[in-house]
């Protein structure tokens, strides 16, 4: 019995070396496929939710997402609506756009920012509410998950916090 456990021990130890070599090569693919088959999904707080409306402009488009509601009573991340302008290369230098956040046909706020083509330029967004839905934002950068402006690939993402 002792000999058997010793043989098994050495066999598993040697197998560990093989796993150490090939594991990182294949494990990620296996793991990600297995994770995709579960009901696990990336939370909308990180993805911004699902697109609700696409507004076509001259050479670019504005994608308004569905509201992402506050996840837990103690959560510091407020409800927000994500808005994406893309592609950055086609944007005018200054954006000042009335946006309908809830899809009722009335603009809820005016979103303003400088759409610099320099990828390293700091972005700041100002939001002036037109209804009680949106919270104001004054020269905000990346304050929180629910209140930010950021450049993501060839798009500018703005998140407007809701009341």
């Amino acid at each position: 019995m002792k000999r058997l456990t010793a043989i098994l021990g050495y066999a598993v130890a040697a197998l560990t070396i093989a796993v150490a070599v090939v594991g990182p090569l294949f494990w990620f693919g296996v793991f990600s496929r297995a994770a995709a088959k579960t009901s696990l999904r990336i939370d909308p707080v990180y993805t911004g939710g699902e697109p609700a409306r696409i507004i076509a402009r001259d050479g670019y488009q504005i994608v308004v997402y569905k509201p992402v509601l506050k996840r837990a009573p103690l959560s510091p991340t407020a409800s927000f609506v994500q808005i994406v302008w893309k592609p950055v290369s086609a944007l005018p230098a200054a954006i000042s756009e009335p946006i309908d956040l809830d899809g009722d046909g009335r603009p809820d706020c005016v979103v303003s920012f400088q759409a610099s083509r320099d990828p390293h330029a700091k972005l700041r967004v100002t939001v002036k509410p037109l209804t009680t839905l949106a919270q104001p934002m004054n020269e905000v950068g990346k304050d929180s998950f629910s209140s930010l402006i950021a450049r993501v690939n060839d798009a500018i993402v703005v998140r407007v916090p809701l009341r």
Binding site: G9, L74, G141, D143
Partner: protein
Amino acid sequence: MMVALWLLATVILGKAWCSYGCFFGGLDEGFSSIAKKARLRKINPKWRLAPWAILVAIVLLSAAMYEPTYCMWLCPFKAVTEFPQVRSTQTALQFGIFIALFLGLVVVLPFLTKRRTQCAFFCPFGAFQSIFSRTSIFDIRIDKEKCGAGCLLCQNNCPTLAIDQDAIRAGKPLSSCMRCGACVDVCRKDAAVWHIKGTPVGVEPERARLLYLHAAWIFASMFGGSIIANSLQKLIGLVV
């Protein structure tokens, strides 16, 4: 991808992730190696329970607040990776916490104690890994008969205080052992040895050591190889 690699490493190598994979622990290790002698020798062993307390706290807080509490408020390594722009009281507080924890746990205390204080007394990730550490086929054993009266060199050199009198009596380190092998290297009587579960303790320890080190270093190379290569390329690009 990181979760997948961490899980793989932990299951096959135990808490060796801390010794061979964790880039944050490397900073801890580096600062603890600077001084020749420890200036702070007496450490209350109850501090070893702190990572577990922090783990429970952040799990509960993260569930209640629905946000990654550790990343948002407690990670010392945010001080050297990324932290929020200081534009409000909250972000100023976060900045202060990150800097204080990094300087205290990763720079000053390792320098004074020559221990990996962030890993041993704070890291909740390490505490979580201790649970999975038992799945590994490799461990470290202490031969009580060879040890004899006990010089306690292993206890004094363990970076995470995983060896104490109880561990020596039990013949193996505590679950916080990160398989670094410092105790094996420092033991004058070859009482602390690498071991493969299922095999007799102290028989062919060199074989166990080589099998473990090959697996650990190969994993570290596979995991960190591209990261190291990219970093070197960027460093060369800065100079040239």
